[in-house]
Point group: C2
Chain length 456, copies 2
């Protein structure tokens, strides 16, 4: 098996695509802590959550025991439009680095949303449609999630209302136009259309907004609008469940050629990509069937894992959402405005947080100039212009491959290439012009964020 | 065979990828007319052409007899990074249209240049490198070709100097940044760096430039610079040769499932995509082995085939290039500035021109608002935001599928989806805002263009 020549790109056939999502929580001894109602301090119930999320998604959110959940046929058909995504053997990068390591990346950018976000967007839109809803609301920062959701809604004929972080709305007019082409309504956040938006605007006039603030607006909009629910592109258990298709396909592709990864690397903002990529491998690790080094990569300017606190916190600025136990910098934490690399969310998936807390994975923080250097190097030899977010994983994959060059080890390194950087060219321009710098995140700033943590 | 379930996407294995390009001229009874030296009025010789182009590319340009030309291993390895491209069965579009037709499209947009242009860029850069050159110069309009060439040069470590039509340079800063990320130098054209640029600037101060003018500058730059040659992304015979990989892969994929196309559709600017897509099918047609309806689609505002003249003309505005016999609107023709859909070149591939002249293919001109309507419809059901250029082919594919709905015929329609529209969102924005209109091209404007035709 392992002697077989491995092609540049491993594509699965439609028959080999996953028919079930894998729910890693089923194999966790220590389950992620439940979402908590900030008013009662009690775990959120099905009935409380269904005012915000679709019924079936609430069931998935709360399901800690079912290991495999069937992917509805309609979603599998949609997946066939842009999946399976290729698992690429980075022959050219290996050669350029002169490393004995074998580098593989799972490339999720070959669709118009430009990222893996579509995997969960179609699932969430599908269940909303099934429930007979009129539409959904959401927030978007860099824009991948909003684009993905607008594509899914456009396909199913569902209304889609996106609150886009104002600074992104202005810096990325093209993202906005893609969403509009798919029929979505895009509102810059904070806006005058919600009470929480008006409150934030009066407190911080002229603010460029934040993800946490756009979440608050989207939730308020959904709960006040007949026949609407709120959907979220990361952090939640349900999202990691849907994103498990990434890891399942990766594992099937590697197994076909008898390749066992030594190191698995993914960038981590809210955790949707990392959680999806690692899930089947983490499952084996949890069941004691195999061992893997798993590395989460985060920006040095928003280091939830490496400098955050494992505590209950709000997911949003307006504090309208339930509390989640996670690695967090505090919902009041604001990443430096000079940070260009995405992954700006203050918290982290509760599932990944628990796994990290239990010592089942590592985390590393990297600086943005180093990230863009890796991005440029990768683009020139592998022919794909990567998203800044994905480039965090490239940075660490290259670092690990260079270590192999030094030790002579032929390790198998697998990383998640979540998407393309076609809509992030302001950041590339800054880098090309030599204008990109790194910000130092001081202990004082970190403490200021922690001061916003709620008492539970 | 034909009973086999056809997947959404047909991917060939690496072994099934073409090892030879197909040179359709070898099977043409009436060969395309030779390039002519405007000074001597004699056919351009190898020695004359090699001052402008690399030696091997001149050989390919002049070779009318070799049907199959081997693809060098290094180019085939590069192709493996982003090819084979999928042949997609448009199940969702068929369902949406309620047509009995089977629609297939060959999608060439899954690479960072966003289009099929990379197929010829890597070939041209490879031969330049083989010849020991330092670098190449070229022009780019919409930007796909310049991006593709900068990727190929970045990979091979070759210098790349791109003259970008000024209006595009200003409207598409992101395109420019992709090229810079791959290490290219990008100059807005017309520029002060060339004599022809200065001449055009003094005649038309403040002009936004044109493709024909950028070609003149790039040619001048290459011929004045030690160790440089000029390369071109369309029109030439060599380009159609390299692009034959599109058609060869398409035919192999269709043959695997026993599908014989009834209609083959491609957009046509200079002809690189259309020529590549149809070449093996046209070969069968020329050899009398099969028959296909082949339709070239061009914009109503730049209708070289449908309203042009079959005559010798300059490929560039500065008249520094050889004369080519082709369907042309005259090198002085300027498409309306309100035209957003790409495909703005005044001429057409001499090979395709001869085939069209001989009645072996049809041509149709379409209006841009109709093109963008088709683009939006396609994007929503097939999940890919198409390039405006490609959307010309989508328009006619949809029209033909609707005819099938009326007649009840289950025709096999194949079209070329040359690329994605991620860098064309100004045009989409105009369309989304309801601001896009069609221009009427008058007979007077056409005559004005013809008046610039040279006497040969």
């Amino acid at each position: 098996m392992s002697e077989q020549k491995i092609p540049y790109k491993i594509y699965l056939s439609e028959e080999e695509m996953p028919k079930y999502w894998y729910n890693v929580r089923a194999d966790m001894k220590n389950k992620p802590a439940p979402l908590i109602n900030p008013a009662t301090k009690q775990p959120m119930t099905f009935d409380e959550l269904r005012h915000v999320f679709c019924d079936e998604l609430v069931r998935q959110e709360l399901d800690e025991t079912t290991a495999y959940i069937e992917i509805p046929q309609e979603i599998r058909d949609f997946y066939k439009m842009y999946r399976p995504s290729p698992l690429v053997r980075a022959y050219c990068l290996e050669q350029k680095l002169g490393t004995p390591a074998h580098i593989y990346y799972k490339f999720e950018g070959n669709n118009t949303s430009g990222s893996h976000k579509l995997n969960s967007a179609i699932a969430q839109a599908y269940y909303a449609k099934q429930q007979g809803l009129k539409g959904v609301t959401t927030e978007t920062g860099a824009g991948q999630w909003g684009t993905a959701l607008s594509m899914a809604c456009g396909y199913l004929g569902l209304d889609c209302r996106v609150y886009m972080v104002k600074v992104s709305y202005e810096q990325k007019p093209f993202r906005r136009e893609v969403m509009r082409t798919y029929g979505a309504t895009v509102t810059p956040s904070p806006s005058e259309t919600t009470a929480v938006g008006r409150k934030i605007l009066s407190e911080f006039p002229g603010t460029g907004g934040s993800l946490g603030c756009a979440i608050s607006e989207a939730v308020e909009d959904a709960t006040n609008r007949e026949g609407y629910r709120y959907v979220l592109g990361s952090v939640l258990n349900q999202v990691l469940l849907h994103q498990s298709v990434i890891g399942l396909e990766t594992k099937t592709a590697l197994d076909k050629y008898g390749v066992k990864p030594d190191i698995i690397i993914g960038c981590a903002g809210g955790g949707s990509n990392l959680g999806g990529l690692i899930s089947p491998f983490m499952g084996e690790k949890l069941r004691g069937e195999a061992d893997y080094r798993i590395i989460a990569v985060e920006p040095a300017s928003c280091p939830s894992f490496t400098r955050g606190r494992f505590a209950y916190d709000f997911c949003d600025t307006g504090k309208v959402c339930p509390l989640a136990k996670m690695y967090t910098l505090g919902s009041g934490f604001m990443p430096s405005p000079i940070h260009a690399g995405g992954l700006r969310f203050h918290g982290m998936s509760p599932t990944l947080s628990q796994l990290y807390h239990d010592g089942l994975m590592e985390a590393r923080a990297v600086k943005q100039t180093e990230v863009f250097k890796a991005a440029e190097q990768f683009a020139r030899v592998e022919g794909i212009l990567p998203a800044p977010e994905s480039s965090h994983a490239i940075r660490v994959a290259i670092d690990e491959a260079i270590k192999c060059r030094e030790t002579g080890e032929a390790k198998n390194i697998v990383f998640g290439l979540t998407g393309t950087g076609y809509f992030d060219l302001y950041a590339y321009e800054k880098f090309n012009d030599g204008q990109m710098v790194d910000s130092e995140l001081t202990d004082e700033e970190i403490e200021k964020g922690f001061a916003t943590l709620p008492e539970v």
